[in-house]
Symmetry: C2
Subunit: 192 residues, 2 copies
């Protein structure tokens, strides 16, 4: 797939074909892509905990918040939940500052998943203290993001944002609509 | 190019064939890729100032710090400087928090550049107040990163990190070596 198509296909998916499992090897392959990404001062302070284990997945699921703009939707139901997770942590023993390493890494990992026919969602609404307990993480590993991954079971479409309303929404056919600013709003200026 | 090759080719390049120019259209294409990236709460607070203008480029260049681990190297000399820049700013009128949007966007823009045969470096060592003045930016646009872009004129190789030494270095042949942690150091655990 060419890069533009890949970037466009990489939507935030929140419902999955849960029975389509992800292997530990595939998860490690996606994480491994992040090894080749830029890192502020080359510190590389990020580490990853992966799970494709049903029992652990269920425990992680209970500590996540889903789709803040869909108050009537409590998150994916059994059968449409993620088949795997990547918990992104910052090793504070390596460096205090992570610059923008985390965004660089998670985008790369997500592109890897999409390129292999999977997809998912970067979740920031996480009960971090309980998740650290569940995963037995030492104190120096600070949880940043949880990537929820699986075989997408929903259609996500992008549309031009209207009147500054950033809220995504679902239509009667369960299609998920995401308003995005047009490029001319992102470009403040280009000096030729 | 497949994704793995693209991610691996996307190194931090700091020396360029300066005469190989970048068009404003190409810069806008790469910025435009970021429209399709995830954004925390879908706020999309990032905006971009592009320059492929020689005079403005020279002004921007003077406000950047290059390669902190190469103290004997003052940065690229005339003829090997970037052909273009993208200044990434956070519009504080849109949202206070940018989550990890900036890393997601800059990685996507850089992959776009590499996919088109260019490349560059994410620079955080920036005289932000002077750059804001040079670009006549209003106060609500906070400068985050400067992407220095061009046709790479240097060889960058990755090698396994030894003894935790994160410093990149240049050999006698001017090849730039970047130590990266092996994947088994990035993966804290994967639960199958």
């Amino acid at each position: 797939m060419n890069l533009t198509a890949l970037v466009q296909k990489n939507r935030s998916y929140r419902r999955f074909h849960e029975e389509e499992r992800i292997s530990a090897e595939l998860l490690e392959k996606w994480i491994g892509l992040s090894r080749f990404t830029a890192s502020g001062r080359n510190n590389q302070p990020l580490k990853y905990i992966g799970s494709v284990n049903r029992e652990l997945n269920a425990g992680i699921f209970n500590l996540l918040g889903w789709a803040g703009y869909l108050p009537d939707w409590a998150g994916p139901t059994e059968g449409e939940r993620p088949a795997g997770y990547v918990v992104v942590v910052h090793d504070k023993l390596i460096s205090e500052n992570r610059y923008c390493d985390d965004g660089i890494a998670v985008q790369t990992i997500m592109l890897g998943a999409v390129d292999d026919g999977f997809g998912g969602c970067i979740i920031g609404s996480v009960n971090k203290s309980k998740l650290a307990g569940l995963l037995n993480l030492p104190e120096h590993l600070e949880i940043l993001w949880v990537l929820a991954l699986g075989k997408p079971a929903e259609t996500v479409v992008i549309e031009d944002m209207k009147e500054g309303d950033v809220k995504y929404w679902r239509d009667a056919y369960q299609v998920h609509h995401v308003p995005k600013r047009p490029v001319n709003e992102l470009v403040y200026s280009i000096i030729p």
